[in-house]
Symmetry: C2
Subunit: 200 residues, 2 copies
């Protein structure tokens, strides 16, 4: 997040409510495609009133994304630092990701759809940083797996990283919490395919 402040207290109830509403809209329509009037309408207030709580539309996404990212990367860091074997670590990282989709659908969706665009602004440079950091996490885990002999030696880890990253995160487009499949189910099925393939 960036420097200057917030007008209401950070713990404020209404504020969080508004952020949640904004996140919902940003996720489903896109950031640029959501107007401050849309947000205000959904909240039952006038657009100008939003500026009592936030100093810009950008501040809203900023806060939404940075809060989520901090939580997620905390979880990754724990896994990497842990002492489990390479395969277990890889599984854990996948499970944590699907869990994030379950618990923070909107945030994940916004990040997926807008990171490229927002990343070009100074204010959102941390998004690109986080992307690189996430690449490090996956490459480390995959590298450990290959060196350890758990994973195939002929893998292009860079490519595998991209496949995993994409497949995992893009699931946010169809996964719905409370649906037929829990995020545990989805993670199980995905790991089965990823680790052993789909052939009989």
């Amino acid at each position: 997040m960036s420097e200057q402040a917030v007008k209401s207290a950070p713990g404020s109830n209404r504020r969080d409510e508004l952020l949640k509403i904004a996140a919902e809209l940003f996720a489903s329509r896109g950031f640029k495609n959501t107007t401050v009037r849309d947000i205000a309408d959904a909240a039952g207030i006038l657009s100008g009133s939003l500026y009592h709580h936030f100093d810009s539309k950008e501040s809203m996404v900023d806060e939404i994304l940075s809060t989520f990212q901090n939580e997620l990367f905390g979880a990754y860091a724990e896994i990497v630092a842990g002492s489990a074997d390479p395969r277990a670590k890889l599984e854990a990282a996948v499970r944590v990701s699907f869990e994030a989709i379950d618990r923070h659908r909107n945030e994940v969706a916004i990040f997926q759809n807008e990171a490229d665009y927002l990343g070009t602004f100074d204010r959102f440079a941390y998004l690109s940083d986080r992307n690189l950091q996430s690449r490090d996490v996956w490459l480390t885990l995959l590298g450990e797996g290959v060196r350890h002999g758990t994973l195939r030696q002929d893998l292009d880890v860079e490519l595998v990283y991209r496949f995993i990253r994409d497949t995992v995160w893009v699931a946010v487009r169809w996964y719905r919490p409370g649906g037929k499949l829990s995020h545990h189910d989805v993670a199980d099925q995905y790991l089965t395919i990823l680790l052993d393939g789909i052939t009989a």
Copy 2:
């Protein structure tokens, strides 16, 4: 595409040029996020002049997407109708998709990013139709594979379909024609992972 007409001849050179420029911008910045002035600037003309060639900004995406979709689904239809064995058909479908990413990056990107939003308009209803049609293609191929004994019996084909679809198309975000890996290479590696997994 929709009913009414085009002002220039369909084969017109300049027209195609402008569509190409528009596609590039729509793909990289998003449809809503690209202004007609952006397109005109990139083409070296004034924004109003675009309306000599097209009757709206929507018409431009419409033409870009529908042209691409028709080509792609022609290729799918050939594969499904073919007489190859299930595994070969599945491989062919994957390869055709990566080839599409190679040859029509912008179109694929636009479809990936805007289909949900555009699909809500009557004019773009065909996008949703195509989505269902593509689901049919993959489910058919996967079903044949399972029945034939080529693929594992315990697969949730609906889920596998989503994973394949997402992984394949989302590659448009990082794949660059002329890069280190050709679309053949990418397809090979992907099929290896998909069919046999990443474990040793």
